[in-house]
Amino acid sequence: MTETRALRVAHLYPELLNLYGDSGNILVLRKRMEWRGIACDVREVHVGEHPSLGDVDIAFIGGGSDREQRIVCDYLLEVRADLAAFVEDWGVLGAVCGGYQLLGHSYLMGDEEVRGLSLVDLYTDRASPRLIGNIAVESRISPQPIVGYENHAGRTHLGSGVEALGRVLHGHGNDGMSGEEGCLYKNVVGTYVHGPLLPKNPAVADYLISRALDRRYGSSLLEPLDDTAELAANQVMFERLMADGDKGR
């Protein structure tokens, strides 16, 4: 391939949705493209701006506090139709934690039901206790278990036609009951594995990149990278969760 490939990433409202090291996800997408010679243009969409998704390949939305999530939701509701068109046209969308909840029809802020973006057929209510801790998920988009950290009061329920991101091997997942975690719909990946989802789960990062390449160039081929450090971090945590059930010291 002689033509230089290039992808555009829109990072939605990083100044509000940056609670748990969310910028790590964008950094990982960028580096994993650059290491393969794929030009990566990251645009931050700030408060007061609406995202224009016409030329965007990957949109990313992170997690924030309830208050900040509400502000973002209000902005995004104004461009809901554009977002829905992007998703239906197989645009790649990664949504983490609070961002994941926004994908659905509604979520609860305290006792108040807040209207969501209805991009994916799911909704979120809440219950006690908060579901907090390290999590491991078996998913078809990653040969390794997806490992990370979850911290949410929300209980997310998937519509009947929506596939889960995967099956919980350790931790709580969508609602702490179903054994399911996250959602997969077209090229949307939603998950409670918050903050730096992608660094320790390079296959998830590459899934997003390859889906975006496929959509723009009709070819999803990705050269392999040396992921020794990433996979070691993944494996160390996974083995710890399986061995001692993550009992803290």
């Binding site: 100044e15 950094l27 506090s65 208050r67 390290n134 950290y149 945590m237 803290g248 010291r249």
Partner: protein
């Protein structure tokens, strides 16, 4: 004191004696826990022991150093001080600190922010010092809103307490304004000039605490601390009762003029041989608190001259001819400040970054992605980086994406082994979060000599 609290106090003191004098063990938690189990109101009954009053210090970063400096300055003037010097800062640690001896002049107590709601109703301190609020341990503390609500609620239970607050920190000022509405007396400290320092990459608390508009800054000193105003509602940096000017900061020390609005234009020079802009705030807060407690400026400076930290905060050691600098760094702001300190040291060097995820550290280490490790990249010949701790692999991945090729070591000794081929003039900086700090300190005390 009633029978129940006398029994509780006696039992606690017996345990304290048994642990420290007989078993030579740390007595910073258990005596208080036992006394509290017998008498849940033991802090209330012990408060009268501090005949002149008490000072509680809280805030995300800098509590232990500030508490120790305040206690030392009071002691210079001959006061007998009860103090949780080792930083056991929940209610049991505070109760333990109040147990020893029949009486005292002052109690100076570091308090975990969330524990203030248990401590303040009983202790009703003369002063509460609020240093700063940063994101830290979200899994345990919840979001910062929760920490703020807790502090406001704690102050409501102790109306006689004066809040001495960092007027430069929008998050702390948010607490102060709400406390003021419920009747708390508020005094503020801050830096009165632009230090021309670069802002952090991931700024905290960019939005107005009252109306949510993005704050405007005339200048920032670090993180979200600076001279801020809200362009919409007028929320602003507080008028400063204690102000630092002519500030000089480098890695070896700080110096500034401490001025008091209450005393007109006179200022006193404060200087110390521990560095970092955050140290200006810690010492300014300490200077303000001891000034309110009636300590002379000369005694405060004397305390700083004599102060030798023994708690792993910026401690210097020498191991086989190599300088080793140990410091605590447990959240993005703390790490960013430490990176500034080590980059200010223009010698080639190595750094050992140790991250654990025990309960005391916070189990969730997502925040390492908000630290500007990128600032250490691009000089591998002059800055060698080693990762350690229970989450060494995560640190290694973070560094990889910052453009830094780091190896892993399982101890300070291991890290020193990896750099044994480097000239001995190159120092090793050891930056650790909470639970790793004591292990590193113990190792360094075993292997080397302290250098004050």
């Amino acid at each position: 004191m009633g029978l129940r609290s006398a029994v509780a106090s006696g039992a606690g003191r017996l345990v304290h004696w048994g642990l420290s004098a007989v078993l030579h063990r740390n007595a910073s938690q258990l005596p208080g826990r036992i006394a509290m189990a017998i008498d849940p109101c033991i802090i209330e009954h012990l408060r009268a022991k501090a005949s002149r009053g008490s000072i509680v210090v809280c805030g995300t970063n800098g509590k232990t150093t500030t508490t120790n400096v305040v206690a030392a300055a009071l002691e210079v003037e001959g006061n007998r001080v009860l103090c949780n010097r080792a930083g056991a800062n929940m209610a049991a640690g505070v109760a333990s600190a109040l147990l020893p001896g029949p009486s005292a002049d002052w109690a100076v107590l570091e308090a975990d922010e969330l524990s203030t709601v248990h401590i303040l109703p009983q202790l009703r301190p003369t002063y509460l010092v609020l240093l700063n609020l940063f994101r830290d341990q979200l899994d345990r503390a919840g979001e910062i809103d929760n920490v703020q609500d807790t502090l406001v609620a704690a102050l409501a239970t102790s109306p006689s307490t004066t809040l001495l607050v960092c007027g430069d920190d929008p998050l702390s000022v948010g607490v102060a304004l709400r406390a003021q509405e419920q009747g708390t007396r508020v005094l503020a400290f801050g830096i009165g000039e632009d230090l021309d320092l670069a802002p952090d990459r991931v700024p905290e608390a960019r939005f107005c605490q009252v109306c949510g508009t993005e704050l405007a800054y005339e200048y920032r000193s670090y993180a979200q601390l600076g001279k801020f105003t809200c362009p919409n509602c007028g929320f602003h940096r507080l008028a400063l009762d204690f102000v630092a000017t002519s500030v000089h900061v480098d890695r070896k020390g700080v110096a500034f003029e401490l001025g008091r609005a209450l005393r007109g234009t006179s200022t006193e020079l404060v200087k110390a041989d521990f560095g970092g802009v955050y140290m200006v705030y810690n010492l300014l807060a300490a200077g303000a608190a001891v000034s309110l407690a009636g300590v002379d400026p000369e005694s405060f400076q004397q305390a700083l001259d004599d102060y030798r930290p023994d708690n792993g905060r910026l401690q210097h050691f020498e191991v086989e001819g190599r300088e080793v600098v140990l410091n605590l760094a447990k959240n993005p702001t703390g790490f960013n400040q430490n990176i500034t300190l080590l980059l200010d040291d223009d010698r080639p060097k190595a750094v050992f970054l140790v991250i654990n995820d025990d309960y005391n550290d916070g189990r969730d280490i997502s925040w390492i992605w908000d630290v500007d490790f990128e600032r250490m990249a691009g000089i591998p010949d002059r800055l060698q980086v080693i990762a350690g701790g229970r989450r060494a692999n995560d640190v290694q991945v973070r560094l990889k994406y910052a453009g830094i090729d780091a190896r892993i070591a399982d101890s300070v000794e291991g890290a020193l082994g990896q750099i044994s081929d480097l000239p001995a003039e190159r120092p090793l900086y050891v930056l650790t979060n909470y639970s790793a700090l004591w292990l590193a300190k113990k190792e360094l005390e075993r292997m080397g000599e302290r250098h004050d």
